[in-house]
Symmetry: C2
Subunit: 454 residues, 2 copies
């Protein structure tokens, strides 16, 4: 069995915590581990890291690598999409990788999972996955259905037919319904939410793509993995549901009998968090006085709520979103407005990921910018130079190996080094622990593009 984790999405539904540059799978919502880490860990009880394939966007590569290291799964494979497409191309690329790079045979079962869902009850989950794998082994295209808890209008539905041995024939797939229809589905009892998880033999998905998506299949056949990767852009942007599941004659449904939530909005986030007696869910440093049924998520400020009800209030380090419960799907409108105004808050996050580590904004003012750098052991900011700014580096922890023009030096904890304009320098972490540095840029022009690399 191979597990394909789809970690390429770049949604904005949990803005301001999620951004294009920092999508939901990287958020730590329930504890201090990201949804991606939880997803990987869930499968590590079933397979080895080598059996996991993460499909993600090139721009998330270093971030995904960091996350895999965190859960000791750095031997997992990372498949990079050159461009964001939908799930069918992502799964096709991963299937090709399993075929030619991992040498899987056509009977290998592939389990497809999203990286950004909340799933609880790991043992029940593992049981469902192994059930699905068994059904998939009998050559079925398996979808995972969730027994609905409420008449949700935000999910697609699966209409289940007769059961055999714990899996169901699928009569039809239903688009996101309106409320009246969703209530009918709920009352009928044989409709399930479509979780977006799948299981099938490698041979099955290749056959079904050939049967229903010749445009995709044609790009896979007779080509090396590298060739498929290079022509990825030519694939149509289409979901695996539309591309295959709705056409396939082999589709069956296995109910996912554990807690599942795709956290598609701040309303959903409110649902998954523990609440106090007045129905308030709070994270971070919060005080509530006469508040009811509200969600308060603080970042580094104290949040005081007074007499509010049904409010969702979320602070990140550059944005605060306040929305009435039930309105949180309009968070997307904020992101669209910001994009229209070319504001970086729409897409960027204050922490940027690089091959050498991370750089987080600490603040800025007239003529200065402060950032915190975290350089991983053995890594380095490559040789570089700035025309318009001087830089001060102050070491908070670890030891920095600095080359400035022709001089090499070691900078220890609590020491600093000054880089004048146009000096060439390299900043390395020769040590065994992460090197943490405060960087202070001074100058009249402080743009990220004032950097010359050699």
């Amino acid at each position: 069995m191979k597990v394909i984790i789809l970690a390429g999405g770049g949604g904005s539904r949990l803005f301001p915590l999620s951004r294009k540059a920092y999508p939901k799978q990287f958020l730590a919502l329930e504890d201090d581990k990201s949804l991606l880490v939880h997803t990987v860990e869930r499968f590590l009880s079933m397979v080895s890291p080598e059996d996991i394939v993460l499909v993600t966007n090139e721009s998330y590569y270093y971030h995904v690598q960091n996350e895999l290291e965190l859960c000791h799964a750095d031997k997992a494979h990372i498949v990079l999409e050159p461009i964001a497409r939908n799930t069918a191309p992502a799964i096709a690329l991963a299937a090709k990788y399993c075929d030619t790079e991992l040498g899987c045979d056509r009977d290998e079962v592939l389990v497809i999972a999203a990286a950004d869902h909340v799933i609880r009850q790991r043992e029940a989950f593992a049981d469902c996955v192994s059930k699905a794998a068994a059904v998939a082994g009998e050559d079925a295209f398996v979808t995972f259905g969730i027994k609905p808890r409420s008449p949700e209008t935000g999910y697609g539905y699966i209409e289940a037919g007769e059961e055999r041995d714990g899996s169901f024939r699928v009569l039809s797939f239903k688009e996101k319904p309106d409320l009246a229809l969703a209530e009918q589905y709920l009352a009928a009892g044989n409709y399930y939410w479509n979780s977006g998880m799948f299981a099938f033999r490698l041979g099955c998905i290749l056959d079904e793509l050939a049967a229903y998506q010749p445009e995709i299949s044609g790009l896979l056949e007779g080509r090396s993995y590298q060739e498929v990767h290079d022509r990825f852009e030519d694939m149509p942007s289409i979901s695996i549901d539309y591309a295959v599941a709705e056409h396939s004659k082999r589709v069956r449904m296995v109910p996912l009998s554990c807690y599942w939530n795709d956290i598609g909005s701040w309303d959903a986030m409110y649902d998954i968090l523990p609440k106090d007696k007045a129905g308030n869910a709070v994270k971070g440093d919060c005080i509530t006085i006469d508040c009811k049924n509200s969600l308060l998520i603080g970042h580094d400020r104290l949040i005081a709520g007074i007499g509010i009800d049904d409010l969702l209030l979320v602070e990140s380090d550059d944005v605060i979103v306040a929305t009435k419960k039930g309105n949180s799907q309009k968070v997307k409108d904020v992101v669209d407005t910001l994009k229209k105004n070319h504001r970086k808050e729409a897409t960027e996050h204050t922490t940027l990921y690089y091959s050498w580590g991370t750089s987080s904004a600490l603040g800025k003012g007239k003529n200065y910018v402060m950032r915190k750098l975290r350089i991983m052991p053995g890594k380095a900011l490559p040789l570089r130079m700035h025309y318009h700014r001087t830089e001060h580096f102050i070491v908070l922890s670890g030891t920095a190996g600095v080359k400035r023009d022709d001089k090499a030096m070691m900078i220890h904890e609590n020491e600093s080094v000054f880089i004048p304009q146009t000096s060439r320098y390299e900043l390395a972490n020769p040590g065994r622990i992460p090197l943490e540095i405060i960087e202070i840029r001074n100058g009249t022009y402080l743009g990220e593009d004032d950097v010359v690399e050699f």
Copy 2:
């Protein structure tokens, strides 16, 4: 005429913007000038700076001085209360100052004004003040009344009797009423809000204090200003309304026929700000989508409101307060809760005022604190030493004169200096422009109390 501006208050009703260490008079609410600066400027069209006496608490001295410099009124007098008392002792101390230090005779008219009210229409205001001064000259104890705009329950009321020449006999003072009573007052037409502004002859206030407040008067008579100042603590904490106005037989009321608001809550703040078509008042970087009748005040983050109505949301650099409109008097409860938990947010502000300038928090993390210092020309941080922390100073603008142990040096823009633990140092601004410095403290203990001064 002398103008006594009462600038000693330390309220928490506009928390988180106002704190004990940063009361309302220092806030810039309508534009970039503080309420105190606006108050001083309002009177500068009527009197010279030398005719203005500011009564404030010792802990606000440097801040008040900065503000006076801003409006070119540094020749105004500052009377320092050694401890916070109510308005009667503050006025008594200022009257003593006018008497013995400024050499005013008993016929000098004193106009008493609060430093933290919003008053518009300066010419109309000046006309009222000169009207009141004339009435005071005829030996009346003059209060300023505001024609009520609504049945406010947060103000005391003045019941006006017959008019003579634009001023009214006062029949009675009424405590803050309940809503039914406030509505009766409004309907009656001869009730005015008590503004807390007064005008009287120096001789009048001394006589009335002698008649009705022998405890206060006894401390004034036959003593020098310095002696009165030193025994200020012995005065009873009582408002001038209770102490004198409600007893005096000479009290008259002059209507203040201009816009007045004492901004006693965030609800009041909402009232004074301009609003968009949907009734939203916004300050700072805000986006509103489907919002109604809400107040959004941003500091340095983007605030996005979605589908909210009747919400008051205020961000400062360390706290966010969200409250339903009509509940904003409960902001005090937040401050009380914080005080109970010994949290510095209850009283302190992130900018601290010193004799040499200001120090503002920029951020902190594990083992480091960043602040921005602004040292005024000719001023210096006196010789000092820290046991537990090293410090890096990076000059943003100006030139720093640093003595570190036995070494003197000049640090220029974009340069830095390092102060090891237990080094003695002095940090001066020998130049002509403010010296701006980023201070970075490193160490395992970073408390404000780790400083030894010599």
